[in-house]
Amino acid sequence: MVLTMEDKIKNLEEIKAIIEELHKNNKKFVFTNGCFDLLHAAHIRYLKEAKEQGDILIIGLNSDSSVKALKGDKRPLVPENERAFMLAALECIDYIIIFNDKTVENLLRELKPDIYVKGGDYTIDTINQEERKIIEENSGKIVILKGHEGYSTTNLIKKVLDTHKDS
């Protein structure tokens, strides 16, 4: 059965029920989070690699207020419902939950990911140690995936401006 896009976007209670069901079937879920403002190829690359770490992939998506708190007033470019929609369109993503906090810590405490994926040039000692503590306390595994060069939302914005600023 092909899930519609909206079927993938869940609230906290729904996600917890899904996780419970997964565990009954001896499956593990991967969790990663981000703003995913302008979705681009490197995001997709990252998300596919994240999915490969487990059986299903759940994304924590920063809400608009959360993104503003993190990145300032000019972001996000794309509102949360549309960012969720784009992520839901990707084959590799199973579920999405939108969260309002500035940090993902509360959500990690609630969900207790089996596998927590972080993207970027981190080591286990340089990632957010509070996040590390929460995952390890709940017997989860942390996987760090290196970032990909040359892609960022900032670069994409610049590209759009270069193409369109005279129109």
Partner: protein, 221 residues
Amino acid sequence: MENRLFGDYKDTEITRKKLYSLDDIANLNNKVKVLNIGSYDIMHPGHCNTLYFSKNLNEMLGKFPDNYTELRSKYNGKLNPENVFMLVAMNSNESYRRLNKEYAKQGKKKISTHDESERVWQLANLGCVDGIVLFDDLTAQNVIKSYKPNILTKGGDYVLDPKEATKDKPPVDQEEKKLAESYGGLVVLTPLGADKDGKPYHSHHHFVQRILEKHGANNGR
């Protein structure tokens, strides 16, 4: 089938599965053949919406019971996604090279896009895309001639009739439209989507405007 992709984006599974050649697409006759044409450089929700409805046409008909009478009468009952093959024709790097040559002659600004391998990669990872074909020409005419689509889709931020075109809503390519129709194809505009709460997904024009407003040169930099 030659694999044109290279570098980081030469993904063995998904792009080999979904990237087709012009010869391949001439033989896809067991389903309702849908074609969408675009370059899909920077993906935005309007794109996703068009692509999603191009594959899930039955859902589109269900959500808009008063529209699409011709589509409904011709294909009703046959538009569930399992029965639809959704092919996207994308401009290759060569196509852009040729387009930019034309634009230079006309004194228009050059268009730069991400490499074709990256654009194919982005699109291939969408669940609603069944196949992708790259075209080198200025338009997708050869794709239409080989594939002979039953349905040609464009986003809701286009109009069918050039007389109704505005700055926000350009006309669909009339050559492509005529060609598709000559093979019995139907040209369909997908709705300018909205989410569960009825808030509309923006068109390409709106999307660009939003970026210009928030980040443009006029913004005190």
